[in-house]
């Protein structure tokens, strides 16, 4: 723009200069709006740390709530969340991975497959509270499982299934077709090829989706509210047929339902929940970044 004086023959016309100014302005504007998005993320983490850090003690992490949840800690909620994660993962991972295998390795390109893909998009788009209603109608009442860890985890599993399916599909699709051709040419069947060639080359990619599912499942509140998470339980769950407390539910409870909670408690609970969720996300993202860098084909 400023070179107009030195280079007479190629000097920018006023129109060009104007469009270049517009370009700079647009870029700056877009950059600022992107930067503004980072503010809430930083602010949330900062606020939770400043208000909640003081309450995070060994006692807070390892004791049960006492005095009507106005004292003590969140240990049962942490354990409950781990139960919900483990059971929902145990259900969602096999189904989701096999669904991903079907869609990438078996599914023909026809209208049925298009309907399956549409169903996955819709499953991901159904509101979490509708998943909760489904959980109540199907698992708690119809199957008669009652409100317990099993019902809550099944509800979470259905809800988080699309995450696992999508990342499994992506991981399998990144294995070059030539690998399969080589295996088939040696006489291996389709399943042998998947088991011996495709899965070993995509297992870490599938894992990123599984970890992401854990992160989603840990943070959800609505689907577990009516299917198995309890406001307060004086004991730890012993099996999937018990109810449990959960971090997300506990945060909801102490911030809306219980009077006279010390100010730092909900902040500290939110901090623990966020740390858990972000840790799993971080693991998933790091694994993905590492895999992309390492990929040889």
């Amino acid at each position: 723009m400023s070179t107009a004086v030195e280079h007479h023959r190629f000097s920018a016309t006023p129109v060009t200069e104007k469009s270049h100014r517009r370009q700079s302005a647009a870029k700056a504007f877009l950059g600022v709006s992107t930067a503004l998005l980072l503010v809430p993320l930083a602010a949330i983490i900062g606020l939770l740390l400043t208000h909640g850090w003081s309450a995070i003690t060994a006692e807070f992490l390892l004791d049960a709530p006492t005095a009507g949840m106005t004292a003590g800690g969140i240990y049962p909620a942490i354990i409950g969340t781990l139960w919900l994660i483990a059971v929902s993962l145990g259900v969602a991972a096999p189904i989701g991975i096999m669904a991903g295998i079907y869609l990438n390795e078996y599914a023909p390109d026809n209208w049925i497959t298009r309907i399956i893909n549409l169903a996955i998009v819709n499953l991901a788009g159904v509101p979490s509270i509708v998943h909760a209603l489904f959980g109540v109608g199907a698992f708690v009442l119809f199957l008669g499982l009652g409100t317990n860890i099993l019902s809550a985890s099944l509800t979470l599993a259905v809800m988080t299934l699309p995450v696992i399916i999508a990342s499994t599909k992506e991981a399998l699709a990144s294995v070059p077709l030539a690998f399969r051709h080589a295996s088939w040419a040696l006489g291996a069947s389709r399943w042998q090829t998947i088991w011996n060639i495709v899965l070993p080359n995509s297992v870490s990619g599938i894992l990123t989706g599984v970890i992401l599912q854990v992160s989603r499942a840990a943070g959800e509140t609505a689907p577990i509210m009516f299917t198995g998470a309890a406001f307060y339980l004086p004991f730890l769950p012993q099996s999937v047929q018990d109810q449990c407390m959960a971090l997300s539910m506990h945060l909801f409870t102490v911030s809306t339902q219980v009077p006279n909670v010390p100010e730092a408690f909900p902040y500290a609970t939110a901090l623990v929940l966020l740390t858990l969720v972000i840790t799993f996300n971080f693991l998933s993202i790091s694994l993905r970044t590492y895999l992309r860098a390492r990929r040889k084909w």
Binding site: L30, L41, V130, L141, G219, T221
Partner: protein
């Protein structure tokens, strides 16, 4: 494909091979069943949510009143009324405000990341947006309750800070990541030759963005916005905590409202199972299912439109 042992003399077939010959059809059957699972679940969700409220919906619910009356008094002793207009107005007002924030920010960020950033900086921004998406809705709700509520009271001198404004800002921030990631995909799907042709004609990057990329990626960007809308309509816990509990048609952003989703979450625990009120909440669930289904279907058709082009 499954008959791997054919042509081999029986005695020479290893046990492992026999097992695999037996197990393979089973595994493939299981894979096929799981492949169709998403269809079962979507139908299952509609079926169970509908059937749990069917008796009331088919016999005692007046659909005209359900859809057009603002009077939601399910616990009134003398005159129970099940009108969802005020709840829909709550959802609509919060969602509109959320989109007012999320669409410009989301699309702007998508353009910035996709067209103006490169290398590790681009990856870093994308990861940051993913972290924003990872924040659980109950944490957002808590932020609305503990941080935004007093801030709004102070700034606007409002009697209460749990209102459309609070919920709209929270929901807007929650919807941004999905708009960014789908919008970025849509821009990425535009062939580089379009960009090169435009730049070769002397257009600046920004001119290329709004004269070439926006028209070319139009349906994908619209799909991104629609998925953001779907996310905002369906969000439950955050709006339950941030919008106050007032069943009313809002007259301004500082009014408290209650959304469709929040109503189910707030009332399901207090109703008698199988009662009219309980079933009415499932009727709202059906309504939400239909709304989000329509939004997602439209978005999906738009995205498919790009792929076919």
């Amino acid at each position: 494909m499954t008959d791997t042992t054919s042509g081999t003399p029986q005695g020479q077939v290893s046990i492992a091979r026999r097992i695999s010959a037996l197990a393979e059809p089973l595994i493939e059957l299981l894979i096929r069943i799981c492949g169709f699972s998403a269809i079962f679940f979507v139908f299952g969700i509609f079926f169970f949510v509908f059937s749990s409220g069917a008796e009331f919906m088919l016999h005692r619910l007046e659909f005209g009143e359900f859809l057009t009356s603002p009077e939601w008094y399910p616990t009134s002793v003398t005159n129970k009324r099940y009108g969802t207009l005020a709840l829909m107005a709550g959802t609509l007002s919060v969602t509109s405000l959320a989109m007012f924030i999320a669409v410009p920010f989301g699309l702007g960020t998508a353009v910035f990341i996709s067209e103006f950033c490169e290398g590790p900086f681009k990856e870093g921004l994308k990861i940051t947006v993913e972290f924003l998406a990872a924040i659980p809705s109950v944490v957002w709700g808590f932020i609305g309750l503990a941080i935004m509520n007093p801030a709004i009271i102070k700034t606007f001198d409002a009697p209460i800070g749990l209102n459309v404004l609070n919920g709209g800002i929270i929901l807007g921030l929650m919807s941004v990541p999905i708009i960014v990631s789908i919008g970025e995909d849509a821009l990425k799907a535009v062939p580089d030759t379009y960009r090169e042709a435009s730049l070769a004609l002397g257009a600046t990057k920004w001119q290329t963005v709004y004269k070439v990329l926006f028209p070319a990626a139009r349906s994908g960007l619209l799909a991104a916005v629609l998925l953001g809308v779907g996310r905002a309509i369906g969000e439950t816990i955050a709006v339950l905590m941030a919008t106050g509990h007032a069943v009313q048609i809002p007259s301004g952003p500082l009014d408290s409202v209650r959304t469709l989703t929040a109503t189910i979450a707030a009332e399901l625990g207090e109703t008698a199972q199988g009662g009219d009120h309980y079933q009415a909440l499932f009727a709202i669930g059906v309504l939400l299912f239909i709304f989000t289904f329509a939004v997602n279907l439209t978005a999906d058709l738009l995205v498919r439109g790009i792929r076919n082009k």
